[in-house]
């Protein structure tokens, strides 16, 4: 699974044609609120119904206070001089595989604050109201058919003297056994010959094998598995 790391979340403000990080930022948050419009009708029964309405977004950034922009970062004092000006911003997300998604939008400051606690460096905080639509650098496709669905459990009978059960469903590519129970007792997977309280799984034949020294006696076998992509 891809992970988004904190250092790969960058908020920049466009000054001219170039984007500059805002503050020496330690934290940032992009928040989107969607208005709820209630459309409950006389035939809605006991359940209220809603539709999405207008969208509003905010951005907040906080970080170390810098006096000016010479460090290549936007200073809060520069922002204080740009009050009532709508700026262009970019949020740049980079994942562990260096794939990038850029969100571009216009925003203006609604709250700028500088604070200092004894023994700590001064902190700057900026809150911004995003105006208008947000554009994405690339369209995110919808997800494919689920690869990680947990399949319906299999219930089988371990016959008298049997040391294994076989089911064709277990031969599907990507099958991963999540759990096996014999007469309600959980078994542990092993790669070799199973001993007491163990089972082995052969995906090519779809066979679950149990301890051969303790064959079955018309006992229930409960198998939970998933199919991964």
């Amino acid at each position: 699974m891809r992970k988004i790391l904190g250092k790969n979340f960058l908020i920049t403000m466009m000054v001219g044609d170039l984007g500059y990080p805002v503050f020496c930022a330690k934290s940032g948050e992009l928040s989107t609120d969607i208005e709820e419009i209630e459309v409950t009708s006389v035939n809605s029964g006991r359940d209220r119904e809603y539709e999405p309405g207008m969208v509003s977004r905010t951005l907040s950034v906080s970080g170390l206070t810098e006096l000016d922009n010479t460090g290549g970062r936007v200073s809060i004092f520069y922002l204080l001089q740009q009050l009532s000006t709508v700026q262009m911003f970019r949020l740049i997300f980079t994942d562990t595989e260096e794939e990038v998604q850029v969100l571009t939008f216009r925003a203006f400051a609604t709250n700028l604050s500088v604070n200092k606690n004894s023994g700590q460096l001064s902190q700057s905080t900026g809150s911004f109201r995003i105006s208008g639509a947000m554009t994405f650098s690339s369209i995110i496709p919808p997800p494919n058919e689920a690869f990680c669905d947990i399949a319906d459990p299999i219930y089988m009978t371990l016959g008298v003297g049997a040391t294994s059960v076989t089911n064709a469903l277990l031969t599907t590519t990507g099958v991963e056994i999540l759990g096996v129970w014999r007469s309600g007792l959980s078994l542990t997977i092993t790669s070799g010959t199973p001993g007491s309280g163990q089972f082995a799984f052969d995906p090519t034949t779809g066979t679950i094998s149990i301890d051969p020294t303790n064959p079955g006696n018309d006992e229930p076998i409960h198998i939970i598995y998933k199919i991964s992509g």
Binding site: I37, E38, V39, T40, S41, V42, N43, S44, R48, E49, E51, G53, M54
Partner: protein
Amino acid sequence: MKPGIIYRIDFQNFDGDLVRIDIQDTATLIGDFDTANVIGLRGTGNPLSIKVIDNEDDKFTCIRAKQANIEFLSNASYNIGTFADGPDNRFRVEILLNPTSLLPSFLFIGFLVTDDLQQLFLPYPQTVVLTASDHLGLLKGIPLTDDAGKYMKDHYKISYFIAQCLNKTELNLPINVIHNLRVGGGSITGNTSFVAGGPYIATAQTTFFYPGQRIRVIGSSFNDGDYTVGGTTLLIAQFAYIIDGGPLVNESGSPDVIIQDISSTTHIYDTVYIEGLTFESSVNAAQDCYSVLQAILKEGQVLTQFNGAWWIVSVDEYEANPTYVATFDYLGIYQGIVENNITRTVGSLFFSRWANANTNLELERAKAFISETFRYSFPTELICNMTFERGDLITQLPDETIENVTYQVKSFETECWEYNQWQRNDNAPITANGTNYIKKLYYNGAERDRFMHMNEGTVNGQLRSEPLAVSTGDKIVVGISSRWPAGRIPGTTPATLAVELKGDNGKFYYLYGTGSTVQLSGGWFEYPAGSGGILDISYTTSPSSQDYESWQSQSYESQPLPVSGRLFFYLVFDDGADGPGGVTYVEHSDFSVQYLPFINGSYREISGQSYTVKRNELGYLASREQEVFISNAPRINMKGALQILTGGKYWLAPYYYPAWRFALNTAPDQTSAGEYGKLQAFAVWNQNRNTIRKFTGDVIGFGVNWPDVIHKFVLSDTNPNTNDRFFLLISMDQNWKSCQMQATFVECYRSDGKGYTDPLSFKYLTS
């Protein structure tokens, strides 16, 4: 030419449609092919709302004017001051939906109202609130006039009155009408006889013919063609007396003859006339256009603006039948009629649906009865300029001193009075050469007296009035005062007035106003057919020793009129044959005519009529009683009398039928036809005979087929209070950014809601 500067606000609304607000400055005009300077303004988060400002709950509220509230952010260049100056029609507002599409729609057209502009008095940017009106409300201060700005005192089509009123808004929009009453009975088919000796046409249908009707006969053996009905008689069949067309050929009992009422083939607004004096406020002055529209539309139709046109819709037609829309251009000229689907749906499964869970259902109780009253009244001046008030100034005359008071004297044209030596039996008049004028005396600039002055000529004549339409059995009371010059005694019994009746039967009569042993006072005497010579005199003064310098007054009540027709009044110059150099002028004053129609067997008793529909069940206590101002009337010169024009003459239009209940241009069921007042009464009754459902709440979802006042609504969420019903939108406040509106819907039809069997009573009202 077109506006050269346009202030524009564009925004995309919640439904994804583009809305464009154009505020056009008409103070700067450019050529039609030049490019206007478009100045962009920034709309606020609430840039446009459109609402109806007449929000009365009554479905029959005639006028639903609209207003648009526009908001933009000011800056140093464009702010409230940009729109502060100029006349009321300087800034024209046009609001379009999807302006760049092939078929953009008009959400609103109007003008900015300076009174309602506002902005906070603080540094920029601030929200500037502009209000635009469709100017219907401003019609309250504008009198009714014609294209040339003149007082309308003749007959005009209903469409012309409406157009003249609406054009005072200066929007010049076309007019669409959903109001499909048709004059007459449409057509009938059946056994018909033709009698050459009448000439009569007879049919078993007893309510089809009426005087003034223009008919077309199809399918007879010998009598196909167009005819005018002069009168009707009802025996075992209805007989129509033909006065134009033919001659008829005797033909008895021809089956399957089709008789079409030609008046039924055109729209009521293009067929029916009203006399302009209906809308007078005083002599030679008209009511304001808003009142005129209310008088025409009351208790039936609703006027509003929608998609670039004025719409007039009839509440009673919002039912399960197809809807037919008649179109008129902005001058009131009929263009055609088409079927148009005006149904819109509000419901959870539709684009327009209830929002915010605040929909409220209220009820309005059923009525015990409804009553529509039409009062009989006549114009202030029965005869045009009968008080000698009007006429263009001719010249200043020498001052006159009367009883030691010196008056300034002026002469004026004899407006509405035509001078000739008039002859009997409508023979060609002889040109008379006496001079005549209205003489007015002033003291210190204020008028103190006026009268008609007639000078002697070598060929003397009479001043003839404009006609007064009268009916058989009516009476008149005519008065006049006359005098002659000081020291000049006229000969014996000088004449003062002649009154002539031109009958609809083609004969001529005169009124004899002075008693004698030979003829009765006030009697009507027929001129021998073909006889010539000057008119006979009605009034003469007594030959006894009168002071002829003083006003000699006469007044007589006539006998009942022998036939219907038109009355003419003649002011006479008569020197009593005293010879040349004797009497050189005569003056007439205080001319008066009181018209006494014979209605329901009486004179002076009947003041109006009412149509009442009342249920038989007991226990209902609510009622609705309204006065209407146009209707079927017993006399053609009554204010508000609905008339048709046939053969160059105006006739009362007594019958109508609801054409929308039948496929376009098909024959109606004759039982549905009746007087205008009767159909109006049932139309109102059917909106009040059942408990009415009223829904108030928020609706979301407009789209390109947005809900509006002219539409017929289905509320589709299944419920006993909405099923099988149609609703009118009587109030709305639409936010065109969020595409939500506050709306009020009132039930106007349900599948079992129309009834025509409840008792209807017609009653004459007494003074």
